[in-house]
């Protein structure tokens, strides 16, 4: 039995730790690979959203490299993610692939469901090993997000331009090739230490830009064309609300623990939406925009894949939020046709505009929020 799994941002690091810890055989599709991406697009319906197509590419690559089991997480909600599995299976079967498909129901994930679906894999593995592997994997998720957050903090402040990028490049290369928790933990600590050692400019006064939107696109650098890195190098402190650790916390940890905290984002969105769920993260997107505005960010970038239903709904609220706080929100919609040059131009124009507002100190007298909505 050989497992394959799809990519979403940096989850692969934690999944590797988990599968290595359990001693299972697996194949990881290459990260950010154009060829697999193109294959996914060729074999997907035109108007399905970009995450579906990207994941399709990963599966095709995995099955071609001898995998016979697919590990995936779906659900049963209003977002199309819930029905990805059925269509993936249908398409892959019609292409002649035979495989075992494990679809975790992320909406109401329970300990029992996990054990039922993973039971056959961990047969013969001691309970202590399983607990250890899961704990190490959970630690990795948060530690890796910590590294990326640190890099986002360093980028707009570093004295020598490109220092953080160099370290992150080395880190990503290491975690892709190394195996086992020990080695990956070393790579994480190495990157953290190196990032902390970078000389920062005490005079730096970076812009504060928030990222909200659809989680797959917001957390997958290949799909969002490395938006965090690009904005960071344009001199902005980037706060990405849609991190993988948030997602894991939401779906796995909250589902298993009996205590449920209040979702602040959903609460903040009630002013605009009179309902707590419209599928996906639509309501969270509005709530996060509201919360970020209350916290006084300079600007917000909203990013989602073309045809994403919940995010189109969320977009309707931005006119009111922009007007209320006088903070610009730019919506970026990506699909497989997105060209990098035009994308960079838009990000540059947005950061330049925010910089001008920032320097004027009196943003109230310059209402430019409408022009930022172009496109």
């Amino acid at each position: 039995m050989k497992i394959t799994f799809p990519h979403m941002g940096n989850t692969y690091i934690a999944v590797k730790v988990l599968l290595d810890g359990l001693g299972l055989d697996y194949y990881m599709p290459p990260v950010a690979d154009r060829a697999t991406f193109e294959r996914g697009i060729e074999n997907s319906p035109e108007f399905m959203c970009l995450p579906f197509k990207t994941i399709m590419g990963n599966f095709l690559d995995g099955l071609d490299h001898g995998a016979d089991t697919i590990l995936f997480g779906g659900g049963a909600g209003q977002c199309r993610l819930s029905y990805y599995g059925d269509l993936h299976k249908e398409i892959l079967h019609s292409l002649g692939y035979e495989f075992n498909y494990i679809n975790l129901q992320l909406n109401h994930l329970t300990y029992k469901e996990i054990m039922d679906k993973f039971g056959p894999f961990i047969k013969g593995i001691s309970k202590a090993t399983v607990v250890k592997a899961v704990t190490e994997s959970a630690w990795t998720v948060f530690a890796v997000d910590g590294v990326y957050a640190k890099a986002a903090h360093v980028r707009p402040r570093e004295v020598k331009h490109g220092s953080a990028d160099g370290i992150m490049q080395h880190f990503e290369k290491r975690v892709r090739t190394e195996n086992g928790f020990g080695n990956i933990r070393d790579a994480i600590f190495e990157a953290k230490r190196a990032l902390e050692a970078i000389e920062l400019d005490p005079q730096a006064n970076p812009l504060k830009i928030g990222i909200i939107g659809e989680i797959f696109i917001a957390s997958e650098p290949f799909c969002n064309l490395e938006i965090e890195k690009k904005l960071g190098n344009m001199g902005a402190d980037v706060y990405n609300t849609m991190s993988v650790s948030m997602w894991i916390k939401h779906h796995f940890i909250n589902a298993i623990l009996p205590i449920h905290g209040k979702d602040h984002a959903v609460e903040a969105a009630q002013e605009y939406m009179h309902i707590d769920d419209v599928g996906g993260h639509g309501v969270n997107t509005i709530g996060n925009a509201e919360l970020m505005c209350r916290n006084g960010l300079d600007g917000i970038v909203h990013i989602y894949p073309f045809t994403c239903m919940p995010e189109i709904i969320a977009q309707s609220a931005f006119h009111d939020i922009e007007k209320k706080y006088d903070i610009p929100i730019m919506t970026l919609i990506v699909d497989e046709m997105t060209a990098e040059a035009g994308y960079i131009t838009r990000l540059e124009a947005f950061t330049d505009m925010l910089r001008m507002r920032h320097d004027r100190q009196k943003p109230q007298s310059y209402n430019v929020s409408r022009s930022s909505r172009a496109g």
Binding site: C49, Q78, R80, D86, E90, H274, F306, M309, I313, D320
Partner: protein, 330 residues
């Protein structure tokens, strides 16, 4: 805003007139009107409200709607915004139901779940909007809460609002078409004649403007036309591969899947036309399932016609003609 309107209404209508609210409620002839318009009309009539329905979609309504919404919004929602604007000034409040789910294990499109908010936000509060949550999958709690708010707003008792809902709407959401649809909507009948099934969202196929009178054009070509409503809800679910019975799926998706496969079993159905608004999320899944599954059985020709506000009628007609020419005689 809601509070203010409420205050004004209550001032005009003190306790004495509680029985007869003397309020005009606007219903937009768009989106769910093509499924349950009559049910809501009965609901408000029972509560003693006057009901004002917007006219059939026309160019002005479409253009007004398009001007109000973001580019990415789908065509039916843009048209909905146009209809609601059309009702401004003609009624005290526009009623937009919030459909979360209309049957057990069925979900509604996210746009329907967020429709009252989307319209209110896109129209920048130009029109007062009243909503009722319909959630048959998760239970009646939220429905009761919103019915109580509606009752207070229009000045009737909560009890009568709940009673009217249960009588006029609750159990009729998936009822026979005669109870739900207006008489002039053509669902067709299955006969031995050469038949084309027209699939899609009810608000696409029954709206003569958005569908460019697709049903009328097929009839003029001497073709018998059926829509998903020709089959009972039960029959559609039974056929809705791969989302039978206990599996959650979009209500509209199951309807079309079920109809497509039920049609595939009938030799008189010579072809299927699926009318979809450009970039519809649900249709992207459903049309893929249909086209793949049809290939596995009797190969019924399927044409997916995608329309948006820029679609020209001449090209649309050419495609229909070409499709009809291609159909083999039964």
């Amino acid at each position: 805003m809601d509070g203010m309107i409420h205050y004004v209404l209550m001032e005009q209508k003190p306790e004495v007139s509680r029985r007869a609210p003397n309020i005009t409620v606007g219903l937009a002839r768009a989106m769910t009107y093509y499924e349950h318009g009559r049910l809501w009309q009965n609901f408000f009539t029972q509560l003693g409200c006057a009901v004002c329905v917007s006219p059939e979609t026309n160019k002005r309504i479409l253009e007004n709607g398009v001007a109000q919404c973001s580019n990415e919004t789908c065509l039916p929602v843009k048209v909905m915004a146009g209809h609601v604007l059309e009702l401004a000034g003609k009624c005290d409040t526009v009623f937009i139901p919030r459909y979360m789910s209309t049957a057990r294990h069925e979900l509604c499109c996210p746009k329907l779940c967020g429709l009252p908010d989307m319209i209110r936000l896109n129209l920048r509060n130009k029109v007062d909007i009243t909503e009722v949550i319909v959630d048959a999958d998760k239970g009646q709690e939220k429905t009761r809460k919103t019915l109580a708010q509606l009752a207070e707003k229009i000045g009737v008792s909560t009890k009568s609002a709940i009673e009217a809902y249960e009588k006029a709407v609750k159990n009729k959401l998936n009822a026979d078409v005669k109870a739900r649809l207006a008489a002039d909507m053509e669902i067709g009948t299955l006969t031995d004649k050469k038949t084309v099934a027209v699939l899609g969202h009810p608000y696409m196929i029954y709206d003569r403007f958005l569908s460019m009178n697709l049903i009328g054009k097929l009839k003029a070509a001497d073709i018998n036309v059926v829509t998903p409503d020709v089959f009972s809800h039960h029959k559609r679910i039974e056929n809705a591969y791969p989302y039978f019975s206990e599996r959650n799926f979009y209500a509209i998706g199951s309807d079309n899947l079920g109809c497509a496969y039920a049609c595939a079993k009938r030799p008189e159905v010579a072809g299927i036309i699926y009318l979809t608004p450009f970039a519809c999320g649900i249709d992207s899944l459903v049309t893929e399932f249909i086209s793949r599954h049809l290939k596995a059985g009797r190969e019924v020709p399927l044409m997916v016609l995608s329309v948006d506000e820029h679609t020209g009628e001449a090209g649309f007609d050419t495609r229909i003609e070409a499709f009809l020419d291609m159909l083999a005689p039964v």
